[in-house]
């Protein structure tokens, strides 16, 4: 068996170069290629290059932080601080996904903001009271369904604001943003088990908070 030709080939084959594979993947992704060009321009001192990057990601990052931080002003401050931090640390960017890099910085800024200002806002998620929250595309115009959806949204956001900040962050990153456990662990600097625990306990806590309103979600 040791003399089989397959084994000989396997032994002789040199191990794949991880750096080379990553660069191939990066080049195949037009968004990543665009981001890398903008990063290089920003590193070269072009403020416009960095601002183009901000334009690309500010909506996404604000939406992320606005769900993590139940206060619009705090969320805005966290996103602004994240972009400041990204600009300061441009030199430390070592490649990989620019989106993940920015998201990690923003999540850390939001978590720092929540630790620094643990005060509870009088009206969490005030966006629900005005037109700043935009309904998803494809929503029906049936008034009853719209009313039900609004009630669901209100109940979920209130429950989200009442669980711990760590649980909220994990749930938003997992359920809303769609990151997997490993990515969330990397962003938040905790272990995989802690991420799972926060998500599970956070959902149980939300269920307990929504105890009397679960019919909204069962229909």
């Amino acid at each position: 068996m040791l003399d089989s030709p397959g084994l000989t080939i396997a032994v002789r084959r040199s191990p794949p170069n991880v750096e080379d594979l990553r660069s191939i993947v990066v080049d195949d992704d037009p968004i990543q290629r665009r981001d890398m060009i903008l990063i290089e321009r920003a590193k070269a001192g072009e403020l416009d290059g960095f601002n183009d990057l901000v334009t690309c990601y500010q909506d996404h990052l604000f939406a992320l932080v606005a769900r993590m931080v139940p206060d619009r002003d705090q969320a805005s401050d966290a996103v602004q601080e994240a972009f400041f931090s990204a600009f300061r640390n441009l030199a430390s960017f070592r490649g990989g996904s620019v989106r993940s890099w920015l998201t990690r910085i923003t999540v850390n800024a939001a978590m720092d903001m929540q630790r620094a200002k643990r005060r509870r806002p009088v009206q969490p998620y005030p966006e629900l009271e005005d037109d700043a929250w935009q309904p998803r595309a494809g929503d029906t115009h049936d008034p009853e369904r719209i009313a039900l959806k609004t009630e669901r949204t209100r109940a979920i956001t209130n429950a989200l604001s009442d669980i711990t900040a760590d649980q909220r962050t994990a749930i938003v990153l997992f359920d809303v943003e769609g990151y997997d456990y490993a990515e969330i662990a990397d962003m938040t600097g905790v272990s995989l088990g802690t991420v799972k625990s926060r998500i599970h306990r956070g959902r149980l806590a939300m269920r307990a908070l929504l105890e009397g309103r679960m019919e909204l979600f069962r229909s």
Partner: protein, 274 residues
């Protein structure tokens, strides 16, 4: 998926059973995290408990409703102005501040915590050991050789030394406290006070160890260093021969100082950076 367990027998739907069920297991089941035995257990639990099945359905509903939350609209433009960029560009002292506050020195805080804790523990240990040996010296006088906790002199010399230690308040006090022998002549065998050395030389029973001990004590009396100085009147972890602070105090203070300095540097750098 048994989300609709209405077909279950009524006798198996007892709410009292549900209180003892593992809700965390159901939560993990709701996110499809389980494998192997846990998956089997959770499936069985959901199949036989109506409340667990309802919990599973609720958790999945909450997860999907959370994913469908509306997108909050941005209310500010986060692009940087020229002034922001000029302020944020690192140069000179800001570069140093950026490094000190940066992620590369993220270990500074836990290190500072550890050093400060070790320093405080060292000082506490020093205080407690001094207090305990002071108490033991008062209760049972030991050899008057500066460090009551150490085995100074020979076993034969110890009884002979006890009367002198008990007779001399200075000796008994220094036997308990971790002070230097040089500061307390009565304890170090200096002239003017009866010491352990002469007592040891007239001890009725003398073996090899006694002889060695006596000669050691005599050498100490002559001001020459000896191997047992570190355990008697010389410098050791709890005392110092030169009249300075004991080694443990020096090291503990150093650890606390370095720890607090790290705290201050990191905190100050982060404040300056923002």
């Amino acid at each position: 998926m048994p989300d609709q367990p209405s077909h279950l027998p009524e006798r198996e739907r007892q709410p009292s059973d549900h209180d003892g069920h593992d809700r965390y297991l159901i939560a993990a089941f709701a996110t499809d995290d389980l494998t192997g035995a846990e998956l089997t257990d959770a499936t069985a639990l959901v199949a036989r408990c109506q409340d667990c099945a309802a919990l599973l359905a609720d958790l999945r509903s909450i997860a999907s409703a959370t994913a469908e939350l509306p997108v909050p609209a941005r209310t500010r433009d986060f692009r940087l102005s020229e002034e922001d960029a000029r302020r944020l560009r690192l140069g000179g002292w800001r570069q140093v501040v950026g490094f000190l506050a940066g992620p590369r020195l993220a270990f500074a805080k836990p290190l500072a915590t550890a050093l400060t804790t070790i320093g405080l523990a060292g000082l506490l240990l020093f205080s407690v050991s001094g207090f305990l040996s002071f108490g033991s010296a008062g209760a049972a006088p030991q050899s008057a050789t500066g460090n009551g906790a150490s085995s100074t002199g020979s076993e034969a010399a110890a009884p002979a030394a006890r009367p002198s230690a008990a007779a001399s308040p200075a000796a008994s006090a220094t036997g308990g406290l971790p002070q230097t022998g040089a500061q307390y002549p009565a304890a170090s065998g200096a002239p003017g006070a009866p010491s352990a050395a002469p007592a040891a030389s007239v001890a009725p029973v003398q073996g090899d160890r006694n002889a060695a001990s006596s000669s050691t004590s005599q050498k100490s009396d002559q001001g020459q260093p000896s191997p047992t100085d570190t355990a008697t009147g010389g410098s050791n972890f709890y005392s110092s021969a030169a009249g300075g602070p004991p080694l443990i105090v020096v090291l503990s203070t150093l650890a606390i100082g370095v720890g607090l300095a790290l705290f201050a540097i990191r905190w100050g750098a982060r404040r300056l950076e923002t």
